[in-house]
C-alpha cells in the first residue's frame, strides 16, 4: 500500500471574532450518534462511564467524554483528546450488551468554540433560543437552528459555547458567528 491518508479539517485556516468574542475551530473529536430505549440507558451509562442525561437540554461529562441529550432516545456522545477513538466509543456501547444503535459521526460534525463576554450575543445573531444563564446554564445543550442551518449548541462555561455543525454547513456557521461576533461587541 502506497501511503496513509491524512486529515484535512473542514475549518482549517478559518479565523474570525472580535474584541468580545473569540472563534476557534475545535480540534478533531470522536463522535457517536447513540440511540437507545429508556430501559437500556443505565447499562449504556455504565459502559460509557458517564450518566447519559435523560432530561431535555442537559448534558453529562466524565473523563473526556460528553453526552448531549438530543431527544428521548438520542444522544450525541463526544470524546475529546488524542487517546480516544470512535471505535472505543462504539466498543464501550457494544460491551453493554443492551439494544442500541451507535453510528460514528466523527467526521459528519465539526465544532466551533465561541468564547468571551459577547459569546451568547454572537450566537443570538442567528439562534432564537434564550441563552441567559438562567435558561441555558453551563452544561445545557440543544439541537437548534443558527440562521439557516442546524447546530447542536453546548454551553461549556459562563462565557463559552461549543457549536457542533455538519461539516458542509460549517463555513456558513463560522461566517455568521463572525458577523455576530462583530456586532456583539457593541
Amino acid at each position: 500500500m502506497a501511503e496513509l491518508a491524512t486529515r484535512t479539517l473542514p475549518l482549517a485556516g478559518a479565523h474570525g471574532g472580535s474584541a468580545g468574542v473569540r472563534l476557534t475551530p475545535a480540534a478533531p473529536a470522536e463522535r457517536l450518534s447513540l440511540r437507545a430505549r429508556a430501559e437500556d440507558v443505565a447499562a449504556l451509562s455504565q459502559s460509557l462511564g458517564l450518566d447519559l442525561p435523560t432530561k431535555p437540554k442537559t448534558s453529562a461529562s466524565a473523563s473526556g467524554r460528553t453526552a448531549l441529550w438530543l431527544g428521548p432516545d438520542e444522544w450525541l456522545v463526544i470524546a475529546e483528546g488524542a487517546g480516544s477513538s470512535s471505535s472505543d466509543l462504539k466498543a464501550a456501547c457494544a460491551s453493554s450488551g443492551v439494544l442500541h444503535s451507535a453510528v460514528d459521526v466523527s467526521h459528519r460534525n465539526t465544532a466551533i468554540l465561541v468564547e468571551g463576554p459577547g459569546s451568547a450575543a454572537a450566537i443570538n445573531a442567528g439562534c432564537p433560543q434564550d441563552l441567559s444563564l438562567k435558561s441555558f446554564p453551563v452544561g445545557a445543550c440543544t439541537r437548534t437552528i443558527f440562521g439557516k442551518v442546524e447546530i447542536v449548541l453546548l454551553r461549556t462555561g459562563e462565557e463559552s459555547f461549543r457549536v457542533e455543525v455538519w461539516r458542509s454547513f460549517s463555513d456558513y456557521a463560522f461566517g455568521l458567528l463572525a458577523e455576530g461576533a462583530r456586532d456583539a461587541v457593541l
Binding site: E3, R7, P28, S101, V105, R108, N124, S132, S168, D183
Partner: protein, 992 residues
Amino acid sequence: MSASVKNVGAFRIKGAGRLTPARTARFTFDGKSYTAMEGDTVASALLAHGVHLVGRSFKYHRPRGILTAGPEEPNALLDVSRDAARRQPNVRATVQEVFDGAKISSQNRWPSLSFDVGAVNNLFSPFFAAGFYYKTFMWPRQAWTKVYEPFIRRAAGLGVAPTEEDPDRYANRFAHCDVLIAGAGVAGLTAALSAASTGAEVILVDEQPEVGGALHFDTSTTIDGQDGYDWAQDTAAKLRAMPNVRVLTRTTAFGYYNHGFLGLAERVSDHLDRPGRDVPRERLWQVRAKRVIIATGSIERHMVFANNDRPGIMLASAVRTFLNHYGVAVGRNVGVYTAHDSAYEAAFDLKRAGVHIAAIVDCRDRPGEAVLAEARALGIDVLTGHSVTDTAGRLRIRSMTVARNGNFDIRKIEVDSLIVSAGWTPSVHLFSQSRGKLRWDEANRRFLPDTYAQDCVSVGGCNGTDDVAEAIDEAIAAGGGRVAVHGESRFNWTGGMIGAAEGAGPDTTVKAFIDFQHDVTAKDIRLAVREGMHSIEHIKRFTTNGMASDQGKLSNMHGLAIAAEMLDRPIPQVGLTTFRAPYTPVTYGTLVAHSRGELFDPARKTPMHELEAAEGAAFEDVGNWKRAWYFPRRGEDMATAVNRECRTVRDVAGVFDASTLGKIEVVGPDAAQFLNLLYTNAWDTLQPGKCRYGIMTREDGFIYDDGVVGRLAEDRFYVTTTTGGAPRVLHHMEDYLQTEFPHLRVWLTSTTEQWAVIAVQGPKAREIIRPFVEGVDISNETFPHMSVAECEVMGVPARLFRMSFTGELGFEVNVPADYGPTVWKAIWERTKGMGGCLYGTEAMHVLRAEKGYIIVGQDTDGTVTPDDAGLGWAVSKKKTDFVGIRGLKRPDLMREGRKQLVGLVTNRPSDVLEEGAQIVADPNQPKPMTMLGHVTSAYWSENCGRSIAMALVAGGRARIGQTLYVPMKDRTIAVEVTDTVFFDKDGGRIHG
C-alpha cells in the same frame, strides 16, 4: 459635528429648547447649505432656518410642509444621502437626525420644489377622484399593458430607489425577556421601574433618540417634584445601570406577532457623522417576551377643513416640540385652529417665547375655563364658536379665513403658521397587531383596548388613561413591582372632535385633507360611500385612506367619522380597518440583516471541493450543494469536455465525487423489516455484504426516491438517497417509524456528511483502486457487482461498494470525510497515470442515460409508478405490505395506456431533443394537438455516436418501433421509440 458657532437658524429662540449650541453640523437641502445643532432632526433644523416647504404631495403635487414632530409624519418625506451608495428615499424629516455632511433632497417634484410641473394634477383634480384608477384603467383591455400599467408604475410610489448596492452592515439579534415595554414616556418608564424592581428581565424600547415621549413637548408635567423631561432622563439612566434592564432608544417596536414575539428596528448609526466600520446601520431585534406592556401614548389629530395642508400648518404638539425641545419657533405670526384645549398650550408657549399669536380660533363654544383665563392673561384673542373655513398662500400659508359657525360673514387673518389640533387618538396599533379587540368609548369618541389576546397590558395614553397620576398607578400595577412615583400635569388629553369641521361638510366640494400622504380628502370618503363602498375596508381600498406608512395614525378616525356620518350608522358599526405591521417603515436591510452575500444561503461543499476547483472544475448548484459539473481542459467548451469525460470513463476509467448522495444508517434488529415496509423491494433476502437497488413509493404508489442499499450486518443497513432527496427521505422514514411502525426496534441516523465518497468507474477501476484497499479481496469472483465490505483504504476505516451508475465496472470508496482529500488525490493520481479522467455530474447524467438509469425528479415527476418507469421488477410480488402497496392497486395506476418511460432516437442522429418537449403521433393534427407525453432526458451521446433521449409516452412500451413526432417552434423532429438502454444492451461491462 464642528465646534464653531455658526448660524443655526433665524428661528431659534434664545434660551428655549434642550439642545446645546456647542456642536453643529452642516447639511444641504436641495443643494442649499444649512447649519444644524447637535440633536436636531432634519425637520427642526429646516424650521430653524424658516424652511417649511419640504415636499410635494403624491397625487396632486401640492406643496407640503412639516405637519408633525414624530414618526407619524405624512408629508416631510425626503431623500437623505451620506454618499453615492448610501442614499435612502422617503426618510421622515421628523425622525432623521442631522449628521454632518448629509445631502437631503425633496421628492416628487420637477423641475424644482417651488415650481413643479406635476402640480397640474391639482387643477385636474376632479378627474383624479377616489377610485380613479379602478374606473379609468378598466377599458380598453389592450391598453392595460402598453399604456396604463407603465403609467401607474411611473406614478406610483414616492421617491427614487437607490441604484448602487448598499454598502452598510445590518445586524440581527434574538433576545428574550420577562417584560417588554413599548414606549418610554411617563407610563413606560414607570412600568419599567416597577417591573425592574421585581428582578424581571426588562427591555424598554422607544423610537425617539431620548426617552420621554410627550415630555418632549409638554412642560407642564412634574414627576417626583422634578421637571418631567429631566425625570425621564434620570430614570432612564437609573434603568440602564440595572443589570436586568436593557433600554433601547431609536428603536421602534414595529410588529407584535404571536406568542409574545415582537420585531424591533434599532437605528444604530444613521445619526452619526462617521459611523465606525463595524457598526451596523440598523439592528433587527427579534424578541420573545413573556409579557408586554404597551405604553405607546396617543397621536394628535389635525383639523379637517378646506386647504388644511399648506406648509406652515402644524399640529400643536409638533409646534411645542420644536419650541420646547429644539428651541425653534415655527413662525413669527402664528394662528391657532382647534377643537381641543391642548392647542392653547402651544400658543401660550410661543407667546411667552415672544412670538405673536394672531388668534386662537376654537370651533367649540365652550373651551375650558382655565385656558380661556390664561389666554386673556397673555393677551391672546380667542374666537370661540368660530372655524377656519379656508387658507391662502401658495408655498406657505399666508392667511386663514375665519367665520362664526353657521354664519357666512368671513374675515381673513394674516398668519405665517397655523397650529391645529382636533384632539388625541390613543395609539392602539401594537395592541391591535396582537389581535386584541377594541371597544368604542362613546363619551370620548375613541377606540380603546378591550379584550386581550396575549399576555399584554396597555397603560397610559394608549389605554385612554388621561390623568398622569392614574397613568402612573396603572403603570406601576402593570410592572408588578412596588415603587413610588408621583406625577402632576395640567395637560388635558381628553376631548376634541373627529370628522370634518365647519365648511368641509357633505354639501361642499373643498379639499379638506384626511390622509396627507395619499391626498385623500373628506370628499373622497363621501364619494366612496355614494359609490357603494359601505365597509370601511372597501372605503380604505377605494380611497387609499390610511394605507402605506400612515397605517391609520392620522387619518383613521377622521375617515371613519365621515364614513359613519354618510352611512348614518354609529361609528362602532362601521368598524376599523386592520392595523398591520410594521408600525412605521422598516428597511429591507434590517429585515435581511446578515443574510446577504455569502451568508444569503449556505453553500455546501464536499471535502474534495478545493481539489476539484484546482483541477478546473465548473460547479453546478444541486440544492445547496456545489457539485463538480465538468472538468474542462484548456480550450475545451462544456460539450467537448463532457464528450471526452464520457468516452474516457468507458475506455479507461473516471473518478467522480459522489459525496453529496444522501446516506442513512438504519440500525436495529428490525432494520430489514422496516426497509421492507419503506421500499417496494424485499430486503430480508439481502445477505450481509450485498447491495440492492431500491425504490421507495409514497402511499399513492408513485415513486418518491431511489438508491442503492447495502447490508453491512444483520442489523445494519447503509441506505443511499438522491442528493436532493436526503433530508426529505430521512424525514419520510422517521415519520413512518414514529407514527406507523413505532413497534419496530430500529433507528435512523444521517451519515451523508460522515463519508467522502469517491466513485471510480470504468474498465480499469479495479486496477486503479487495488493498491489502496486492504482487508477485502476485490476480485470479480469474491467481490462481484453489488457487493459491500468494511475494509481499510490508505490505512483508514472505509466502506467499499461495488456498484455502478454508469454501466461500467465500478466502485464507490467511502472514507471518513476528513480523509477524503488525500484519498481522492491518491486515486486521481493513479487514474491519471493510467489515462483516466475526472468526470462531473453532466457526464454522469449522460452515462446513466446511455444505460437507461432514471433520475428521480427528472425522469419521474411524482405521477410515475415503478411500472411506468420500467422498474416493475423492483416491486416485490411476495410482500403483503409496504408503503404504496394499496396505492399501486388503484384502477388508474393499473390501467392500460399510462405514460411509460421509453427511449427515443431522432431520425437525424445529430438532433438533440429538448428536455420538456411534447410528443405527438400526428404532427399535422390541427391545434390543440393530442400530446402523448414529453421528453424527460436528452443528450448527445459520444459513446453511441448519436443523440439519445428518454421520454414518458402514453402506452410507451407498446409503441416501441413506431415513429412519433416532436413539434418544435421552427420544425418537427421525427423520432423512433426504443427501449431505454442505448449502450451495452446485454449489460456485460458492469460485471467486468
